[in-house]
């Protein structure tokens, strides 16, 4: 958010629970020993205030965090959740503040940069279209090949100049005006209301309760809100396999986020979304799933178009559905999640003429 911290400091920790840092031990100094031992036994790394979550919509549950500092904490420590009015980090309030309060446009939020680039691209396309019209006009008039070539050369040149001018142009802070509906955003004392919440995916919420003690609910309460009291294994199968895969990648140090925009289940980042692009798109399958070839290739083309590697992640259950369901009712999630095996395959289109490494 507005703070100008280097990202290495801001995103120092990969998870919301941090390792305990003990003071250096100086072996020949007895006081150091005492102090070290004291720290060893007294240090705790649990959160003093667990993060409060709320639920809305009974049929399809949304899990949200509303406190500003808690939203920020979850984002900075492992990139959990998505701001409902932002691309990912909950920056809405800051953006709105920039838009309405100080219009000098300090701190270009990601959204603003993207918007600006899109506008530039749109202008460029309009130019290109105009030139195509010129060419068509020439053809209609029956211009010779030479004339056409000349025109094309001219156009290419002017487009190049146009593009370089565009890229050297500064990001202009838009002259935004306050609209009528914006007035509703202000409180009586002239501050901007926070409209945005941080939404957690069900698996993220489960990870932050079951695997790490971060949220202020129990795993049992959470699953009850998500699936109620399941009568058959099919009711919980999807959630379990999604969670098992999520936990699998998180515990291997990956930052896993929703892949819904690419038609897959998760995106994997080495560290996190502000620091690099996701490398992998993960699609979850049951170990015995068979799909037709179109299914694989259509997704593979989408993923390859976004320059990512497509990972098929197979989940296999080692226990009977009855056992899993019984454990679920007992709240024995540890046994449940450890009775699944995960294996993955990467799938890539290979073109003999091109890919010749």
């Amino acid at each position: 958010m507005g703070k100008r911290k280097p990202s290495s400091a801001r995103y120092k920790y990969p998870l919301p629970i941090h390792p305990i840092e003990l003071p250096p031990l100086i072996p020949h100094n007895p006081i150091s020993w005492v102090y070290w031992t004291y720290c060893y036994f007294s240090s705790v790394n649990g959160l003093t205030n667990k993060i409060h979550v709320e639920f809305f919509n009974d049929k399809y549950v949304h899990i949200v965090v509303k406190d500003d500092s808690q939203m920020n904490y979850l984002w900075e420590n492992g990139f959990f959740g998505t701001g409902q009015l932002s691309r990912s980090e909950p920056t809405w309030k800051n953006r709105t503040h920039n838009r309405l309060a100080d219009s000098d446009g300090h701190g270009n939020a990601l959204e603003k940069v993207t918007q600006h680039r899109r506008l530039l691209r749109l202008e460029f396309k309009k130019q290109r279209e105009k030139m195509e019209q010129e060419l068509l006009e020439l053809r209609r008039k029956g211009g010779t090949i030479e004339q056409e070539k000349e025109l094309l050369e001219q156009q290419r040149k002017s487009l190049r100049v146009y593009k370089s001018q565009q890229s050297s142009a500064e990001v202009l802070p838009h002259e935004e005006t306050i609209r009528d509906i914006d007035l509703l955003l202000f409180t009586d004392d002239g501050k901007i209301r926070q409209l945005e919440s941080l939404e957690l995916m069900p698996v993220e919420a489960m990870f932050l309760t079951f695997a790490l003690p971060v949220l202020d609910i129990t795993a049992k309460d959470l699953t009850r809100r998500l699936v109620g009291i399941p009568e058959k294994y099919e009711d919980i199968h999807q959630f379990i396999s999604q969670y098992v895969v999520y936990h699998h990648y998180r515990s291997h140090g990956w930052c896993a986020r929703s892949g819904v925009k690419f038609g897959c289940d998760y995106l994997l980042y080495q560290r996190g979304p502000p620091l690099e692009h996701a490398e992998f798109c993960v699609r979850i399958l049951n170990s015995n799933d068979i799909k037709d070839y179109n299914w694989y290739s259509s997704l593979a083309r989408v993923v390859a178009g976004a320059n990512k590697t497509y990972v098929l992640c197979y989940v296999e259950s080692l226990r009977s559905p009855e056992t899993i369901l019984r454990w679920w009712h007992q709240g024995n999630y540890k046994s449940i999640f450890s009775s699944y095996k995960v294996g993955e395959i990467t799938y890539k289109r290979w073109i003999p003429g091109k890919n010749r490494e």
């Binding site: 399809y60 209301r193 925009k261």
Partner: protein
Amino acid sequence: MDSDYTDVTNRIGESTFRLVWDNLAYAQLWEQLRTRDEQVEWQGQTLQIIEGKPPHKLSNDDDGGNENDHGIEYVLPIEMSQYKAGKLTFKCLDLIFDQLCPPDARRITLALANSDGTVMFYFVYKGIHKPKRN
């Protein structure tokens, strides 16, 4: 300016409809937002359209061609999970175009609210449409 949702004292989250509304009004900065009066019942859900004007054209092949092009777009908020369950059938879309939109609407925009906190937007055109140029 028309705006039916004058109460912003509550945080978004009570409904998908509200989430999409706030997204259009305060994140995408649409103007002239209004909930259309027409409602349609479809498999136990009430469908209703939000209309409004985006700050710039949504697709770069929107220019020209259409003389009654007033820049108004029609947005249908919908739960992603609803979509998964196959509720949005061809028949349903027909119903939406016939009963929820004005007759000159060329397309609707689906606003899919997903459980990961994002709203995705997709165009649905009436009939065959020339592919968009990138």
